[in-house]
Amino acid sequence: MNLFEFENVITDFKPVLGLEVHVELNTKTKVFCSCPTNFGASPNTNVCPTCLGLPGSLPVLNEKAIESIIKIGLALNCQIAPWSRMARKNYFYPDMPKDYQISQYDEPICFDGFLDVLVPNGDDSSKIRIGIERVHLEEDTGKLTHAGGFTGRIHGADYSLVDYNRAGIPLVEIVTKIIPDTGELAPEVAKAYVATLRDLIRNLGVSDVRMEEGSLRCDVNVSLMPIESNQLGTRTETKNVNSLRSVERAVRFEMQRQAALLKAGERVKQETRHFHENDGSTSPGRSKEQAEEYRYFPEPDLLPIAPDSKWIEQLRSELPETPTAKRERLKQAWQITDFEMLAVVNAGALDLIEATVELGTDPSAARKWWLGKITRIANERGVELEQIDITPAQVAEIDQLVATGALNDKLARQVISSVIAGEGSPGEIVQKQGLAVVSDDSALLDAIKEAIVAMPEVVSKIQDGKLQASGALIGAVMKATGGKADAAKVRKLLFDYLGVSQD
């Protein structure tokens, strides 16, 4: 397969994107029946006459699914249809119990919205507004495993096995409007869109949106328009794109592949393509040259969905703050700069710091602990910050110990390491390791007196007015106490003892 150089693709063509994202809702029951939705159930045990499509069965809409999709639509600045219907999409496939899927056709619940997305652009970032064509509700299919062949894929399999546990799981499909004119940023734009969408929906709490688990699925549509033309080219749809990185790679690959074809005078075939994780390539799946004949018609077993404005406004009021708004708010509250906030967000520390601050810790202290020692440990281990075994409560406790003088910064960092190592709570560790700062004045005075006796020449210097010389004495006291003294306090006691003013 030939690939055109990416830089050259851009000089000759304008990429046009379209993204379709499917989100699995986290409702407790399926969209049309009350079967549970938990993962990992034994095959064909989370099924009933309705989701098995047994003769005589009927669907009933899950109210929570409707609430969830309206929330997604509102968060995406969509219009919520005052009246919409479900529709039957008719086609035969063994994972489809009814051989039709209940979905939506020309009357989706939400339509005509947008999502603003920040895309890295060199040293800077660009803000791009992605149009949302529609957001609609549909049911998922059962799961097929292919047996008897070598690869577990369809081709070459002797037969297949079907588990209908996932049949009827509520899916929300989000379709963008055509995304034109993104030039060389196209792969980044696609990735940023999916990442931003994912964060937005996760924030709503209506789905786990984990690409690696399949609760967020992305199909990428790519076509190329010659640079001087305004006529849309033929598009391909790439499926099996299971990570953010894959989104970017799939777009890039398709742009390069299609450019090579067009440059060679060949045409791009309208088809579904399959993304390959191992090398970032796509290969042909089903041809879509013939338009599919789904024979859509309104679902007669279900009644229309007509949310009134009262319900919509109530759902709107339940929407949590968007990630963007939250960042802005905390930036103000913590009185930090954009740059400092970027560091917080990139470290994945926003929620952790916020939680710590809520427990009473000073914001800059909270940032210090999380972005300092704890981030260092996360980086060393190559994991996300939230996977490190220390909680905001524990960090708050440690910070409190420092604030009251029971610990100093150095000791605090030691406690942090020990907590992460699983040695117990901060209090327990301080006890066990005897890390408490020595604050008993008499003990300190003993140590000071010993140091004075050992360093008479330093004392003379202090008495002569060379106050900085006290450093040596203070150092000696710190060493004698195993670092468990508060240096400032030692200094004060020393000067008081010598009868010399600290200034």
Binding site: C48, E63, K64, P94, L161
Partner: protein
């Protein structure tokens, strides 16, 4: 002369996943015409202003609470299966990937 061509009829039968014999194609062809002629009649009185009706009832928003109910056991689900394996329905090899 049939309104529906033989090819059209074959592709409809294919869409409907019914393997029709040549004899059936012959028979259906003429019968379908008679019916299709009479149903073209509906065109006579409709216009754009009429709102289509799909339900006798003028009811909206019929929902169910998100509460777990009863499910079938795998045994019951698979009881009538023509073929099964490992608690799954066994189906013949699939040619066309969806």
């Amino acid at each position: 002369m049939s309104k529906l061509s033989r090819d059209e009829l074959r592709s409809i039968a294919d869409l409907a996943r019914i393997a029709l014999t040549e004899a059936e194609l012959d028979q259906f062809s003429s019968q379908l015409d008679v019916i299709l002629d009479s149903v073209a009649k509906v065109q006579e009185i409709v216009n754009d202003e009429i709102k289509p009706m799909s339900h006798a009832l003028d009811i909206n928003n019929v929902f169910r609470a998100d509460v777990v109910g009863n499910s079938l056991s795998a045994t019951d689900a698979l009881a009538a299966a023509p073929a099964s394996e490992d608690d799954r329905f066994r189906v013949p090899r699939i040619l066309e990937e969806e």
